[in-house]
Symmetry: C2
Subunit: 161 residues, 2 copies
């Protein structure tokens, strides 16, 4: 599996992954009805943000995104997002992308990485970020409306780089 | 002092307030070089966001903004911003706007309000939000580069509505 910077030509392979994750509505605070154009503008917004793809056997199996969590005086803290094609789940794609993106963030001079909205029922993601040294700074109570579990908490996770 | 919904005609009176607050670089995670067009797009982005002004003697002395903190499954939690003309500081403008915006958020059906980035050295704001029932859920370490104090923490503050 190769992880590399995404190009505009990758979008047609990225979009089905984003569409599936967002439409499920159980892990991302995106409108499940987000259109392709809106998704592209968010996920491939361009500098200072960067977009990555994980490619296996010529196929895009996952995608990640890295950007400043806040502009201006907060721009030394990164935020990142990760999405994996469900047909390729459980094969270490998210883990490999996280390692890659943490290195990319360090190389770019970010001092920390923060996730603002990790759904507490997304236990696989929470365990993965913890394995990568992220701490749960706080859980915002009832901040996510889960399609199956109702109102659940959103973890704010963080690590210095 | 009257607090009301802002109209497009209010922008010329709002902009000097926003410009001063943002250029100071000590309370907001905005690029201090934010242009007027960028500031207008952020502060008066339109539905679902709302913008308010505090008017005293026909003069705009403060402005506030209310919007979903996250889209989609996170959109029942509000976020808000408040800026006061420094020439009218210490006269209860922020307090009056906060009370107004909390009521507006409740009326709109938001279930909670969250601030993502309250600079810990902005002790007047922290004390005001605490007086309005906000708790500090966490402080993100060194997440704000303050022009005088260097890297300081950002409080994440929250209250149910």
């Amino acid at each position: 599996m190769e992880i590399r910077e995404a190009t505009a030509a990758d979008w047609p392979a990225i979009w089905p992954i984003v569409r599936e994750v967002v439409a499920a509505g159980d892990t991302y605070t995106w409108d499940p009805a987000t259109t392709e154009a809106q998704a592209r503008a968010k996920w491939m917004s361009g500098p200072p943000a960067r977009t990555f793809v994980a490619v296996d056997g010529g196929e895009v199996v996952g995608t990640a995104e890295l950007h400043p969590n806040q502009p201006g005086p907060g721009s030394h803290v990164a935020n990142a997002g990760f999405m994996v094609d469900s047909r390729h789940a459980g094969r270490g794609v998210a883990r490999a992308m996280c390692a890659y993106v943490l290195d990319a963030a360090r190389a770019e001079g970010y001092r920390a990485m923060q996730f603002n909205a990790v759904v507490e029922t997304n236990t696989r993601a929470v365990a993965l970020w913890e394995a990568f040294g992220f701490d749960i700074l706080a859980t915002v109570p009832e901040a996510f409306h889960h399609p199956a579990h109702g109102y659940v908490g959103l973890h704010i996770m963080h690590r210095m780089l």
